[in-house]
Symmetry: C2
């Protein structure tokens, strides 16, 4: 593939990061990605401090390469998880869903690299001002939680790369080497890939969830909950329930009641396709079968090389 300044900053071989996805990104996935030369992230959003500590230690046992933790700043255990990250001397932290100024300087003072996820220009500038080492610019096509502006990756990455001086990591809709090359054309220094790794052998998602994803066609995901926190879902029982509610103009309160508690665990980790919340990106329709992280990296590299010959 190609080395960018992001590779130097993170001490990795390829500028490819696996997203820290709830119920998917445990130590197995994170260490597999790091072992292939990318940066594997542990998704702390669904972890208690004890569970996070266990995953950090297992990741370290499974790879000698750098890895990271994704931490949604608004999550209940954010403060305690930050303590664990510091204690365990995790090399890189990706923060999201919250104010980047809260922990950035504290973490950086301990030599931890800090990267913040944004979905619009305003927060990209704020993150840079907070002193982050890079930003992830995540577009509308991404799975799970999503920006209110609905700016797509193609438009967002170009604008953010023109706006900030820190490296920009493109995210949302990327599941091939050709798309990695496309993002570098726009000025990105690397990519964060979610859906493709969420459906890999090493992901801790349930096989029911993976199989439903492999059967999904283009157009089988949709963004919901614009009145709360926009979230992209895969078609299924819960999808239909939410679609019906939104079509009749359900209020934020009604939607909160429909969501309830524990839906994403039920769908992604327990494999309940009827009642679970199946968070996935638009790239799902590009992914047709279960593959190892090793195979995925080989295909990403081949796609990148192919794209280069096209220019």
């Amino acid at each position: 593939m190609i080395r960018t300044n992001l590779c130097d900053i993170l001490d990795i071989e390829y500028p490819v990061i696996s997203g820290g996805m709830v119920w998917c990104s445990g130590w197995k996935l994170a260490s597999a990605v790091s072992n292939e030369g990318g940066l594997g992230l542990i998704g702390a959003g669904s972890m208690s401090p004890e569970v996070l500590q266990e995953h950090i230690r297992k990741t370290r046992a499974a790879t000698s390469k750098p890895f990271g933790v994704n931490l949604p700043l608004m999550s209940r255990d954010a403060d305690n998880n930050i303590n664990i990250i510091e204690q365990e001397r995790v090399p890189v932290v990706f923060t999201s869903a919250g104010n980047p100024s809260k922990y950035t300087q504290r973490l950086k003072a301990q030599g931890i690299r800090v990267i913040h996820v944004i979905a619009n220009e305003k927060f990209a500038v704020k993150a840079q001002e907070a002193g982050v080492d890079a930003v992830v610019a995540e577009g509308f096509e991404a799975g799970g939680h999503n920006g209110k502006e609905e700016t797509t990756t193609l438009v967002l990455v170009k604008q953010i790369a023109d706006k900030v001086s820190v490296p920009v990591i493109a995210a949302g809709g990327i599941a091939s080497g050709e798309q990695i090359a496309a993002m570098l054309c726009l000025g990105a220094a690397g990519v964060q890939i979610g859906t493709l790794f969420a459906l890999s052998e090493e992901s801790s998602a349930h096989i029911n969830f993976k199989n439903a994803a492999f059967a999904a066609m283009e157009g089988d995901t949709k963004l919901f909950f614009r009145k709360l926190s926009p979230t992209r879902l895969l078609k299924g029982g819960f999808f239909s329930m939410v679609e019906e509610a939104e079509n009749r103009g359900a209020t934020a309160e009604e939607l909160l009641e429909i969501i309830g508690i524990g839906r994403s665990k039920l769908g992604i980790f327990d494999g309940d396709l009827q009642n679970g919340e199946l968070e996935i990106g638009q790239a799902v329709s590009m992914i047709r079968k279960l593959k190892s992280v090793k195979t995925i990296f080989e295909e990403l590299k081949a796609g990148f090389d192919l794209a280069k010959t096209r220019l």
Copy 2:
């Protein structure tokens, strides 16, 4: 820039097409784009047969290069406009919003190139089966009318290029040479650019509309009318009216009543920012001032060259 097989098919120098946008794409814009080495399209969607004939003749008088007409197949004057296109021996027709099998063979029998606009995989395959010379794959970020699947350009173009054997023209969100290079990485043979040319000196859109667009920030467009035909609008009086109605769950019938008749002419051509329908793409926030088509082409070429150095 670069020559692709699309350049050979259309007999043009650069694989860049200006969208045939209602109230923007008259003979001035079409001939200016063709004169710069791209393919300029006349937007027949807002034209009677008489007006279309006049624009075709004026385009031909203003350029010796190939040009085309965009024809929404569901428009009231489609049959009569097809007759005009044949009489005037227009070299290329872009069809959209309708069944590509209706006119494709008839036009091709007369040596006219036919290209169909699609927003999903299913219609790309149908268009290829109908015998089109190429397809335009238009993503969620595009202005005006839009696909129901909401697939973004980054995801759609990759998938369509992998699926069909005819050349794929990427559209939606493209307003820079870097993005053209990105689309070629995905396997596209060229691009169709709307918003950037709609805001050019040669576009027939009202200066009020252009100035409102130059002031728009990222996140200032939004897709509405999912219950009818999804349409991307720029913030303004009409935008707020529709947003309010959709938030309370307005039915398709109620929305049709709100739209009324002649709103896009009022907004785009007459410059009424309060009551007019302002159709525009997400790329609007990348465009900050009025430029000639000549300057736009110079900048597209420079951006493309820059992107090449990044791989």
